[in-house]
């Protein structure tokens, strides 16, 4: 009887412990690391200082999101771009590294206000 109670308590403790666990979010400090983990559909998040400003790259469940955090540009441009995001859905091992290496290339497969703004800017070239 005692053994039974101990066993049940053990199972109960195990269940509580499992419930408390959160999905592990990976940590990276380079684009290459980010790309490798995103390609594997791991949850990953990184802030990068690009030539034009600061950008957050995040990937969760094979959905990549790029967010412009701040820009070194005119006030009008900052208002138009800061806080804007684009998202790209991909399949495991099909992550397109141009999404973090480039502003323009590869975003035909993406959606979001950031993409719309970039496409708008092409009119001024």
């Amino acid at each position: 009887m005692k053994t039974r109670i101990l066993l049940m308590l053990g199972i109960l403790l195990l269940l509580v412990a499992c419930k408390g666990q959160q999905p592990v979010t990976s940590v990276c400090d380079s684009k290459d690391c980010f790309i490798a983990k995103a390609n594997n559909c791991e949850d990953i998040n990184i802030n990068v200082t690009e030539e034009f400003g600061s950008v957050n790259y995040a990937s969760k469940g094979c959905v990549f999101t790029k967010t412009v955090l701040s820009m070194n540009d005119t006030e009008e441009m900052r208002k138009l771009f800061e806080g804007k995001t684009l998202s790209c859905i991909y399949e495991q091992s099909r992550f397109d590294r141009r999404w973090v290496d480039s502003l323009v290339f590869g975003i035909e497969y993406c959606e979001g206000e950031l993409k719309d703004r970039i496409v708008d800017m092409l009119a001024f070239l």
Partner: protein, 300 residues
């Protein structure tokens, strides 16, 4: 005698020179629009409803009243109105609407378009289409302003039975391809046919055909220039720029230009695009490669 010949020639040529196009018109028009929404992929069905629509025409810019997703503005190029894609709040989620090319019939009495959209919320991610079939209600002819500008001319038989690109646009895609093909047999550089057939091929995911026809269309430098200026004016107005964004003033534009200038092996939709040595036409092409069906969002 010479004057008489010139007069006859003038009368003969006048009807061809005076082709109607909505991008020259200023005023308002009224329409009944049947909106058909295909929500099958989202667990719904195909349904239609009727709406009244007022279009305020300001030559190449047109403002449309609400047809279900809020009022929108578009840009006329000849008789094709382009409404840019956008993302809107929709119920508990968002809908990303694809850009719509609305084809207006040359008799000024109807229009048609079908555009894709993708809905996303925390429960589902699905796509569908919305079609607009418009019928003019305020008149049975092209607007009077046009008649004033171009008084009635003797109607002469056309030299051959050839549908215009605008008429073709109102046909189903397969028939359009055949008809555009006929136009391109006569004139392989025809801008409107190349541009339209390019976008049909893009919808069919034939990206090499899409790029080939867009490139061919843009060989018409005047059209490419006109298209660029109209897009610039539309974007400038829509985004509220107080200055003309140029590479000298806007660092982000310099970054984009730098990417287009230096990319060794440019690709779009996994199709390798041949870079042109002429940067002006290279930028024009790249700009026009964009509006794409939302169905392509999932990278296969």
């Amino acid at each position: 005698m010479k004057k008489r010949v010139l007069l006859v020639l003038f009368l003969l040529l006048l009807p061809y020179a005076q082709a109607w196009s909505w991008d020259q018109y200023e005023g308002t028009t009224a329409w009944d629009v049947t909106v058909t929404v295909d929500e099958k992929d989202c667990g719904g069905k195909v349904y239609s409803h009727s709406n009244t629509l007022t279009i305020t025409h300001k030559k190449s810019v047109a403002d449309l009243t609400d047809l279900g997703h809020g009022p929108v503005s578009g840009t006329f190029f000849s008789n094709i109105l382009t409404v840019q894609g956008r993302t809107i709040p929709d119920g508990s989620g968002t809908s990303a609407l694809g850009s719509a090319s609305v084809a207006f019939a040359p008799d000024c009495l109807s229009f048609y378009t079908k555009y894709p959209w993708r809905y996303h919320d925390s429960y589902q991610d699905c796509s569908g289409t919305t079609a607009w079939q418009g019928r003019r209600t305020d008149s049975t002819t092209c607007p009077d302003a046009f008649v004033v500008d171009a008084p009635a001319q003797p109607r002469l038989p056309l030299p051959q039975v050839m549908r215009t690109a605008d008429e073709i646009k109102a046909l189903p895609a397969e028939e359009q391809k055949v008809e555009y093909g006929k136009v391109l047999e006569k004139n392989p550089r025809d801008f409107q046919s190349n541009y339209a057939i390019g976008h049909i091929l893009k919808d069919e995911k034939n990206y090499s055909g899409f790029v080939k026809h867009i490139d061919k269309a843009l060989e018409n430098k005047n059209y490419a220039e006109k298209l660029r200026k109209e897009r610039q004016a539309e974007v400038k107005e829509r985004l509220g720029f107080t200055i003309d964004p140029t590479t000298a003033k806007v660092p982000l534009l310099r970054k984009i230009q730098g990417e287009l200038d230096t990319v060794p092996n440019p690709m779009i939709y996994d199709f390798n695009v041949l870079k042109t040595p002429d940067t002006r036409s290279w930028y024009d092409k790249w700009r026009e490669y964009w509006s794409r069906p939302i169905d392509d969002l999932v990278r296969k």
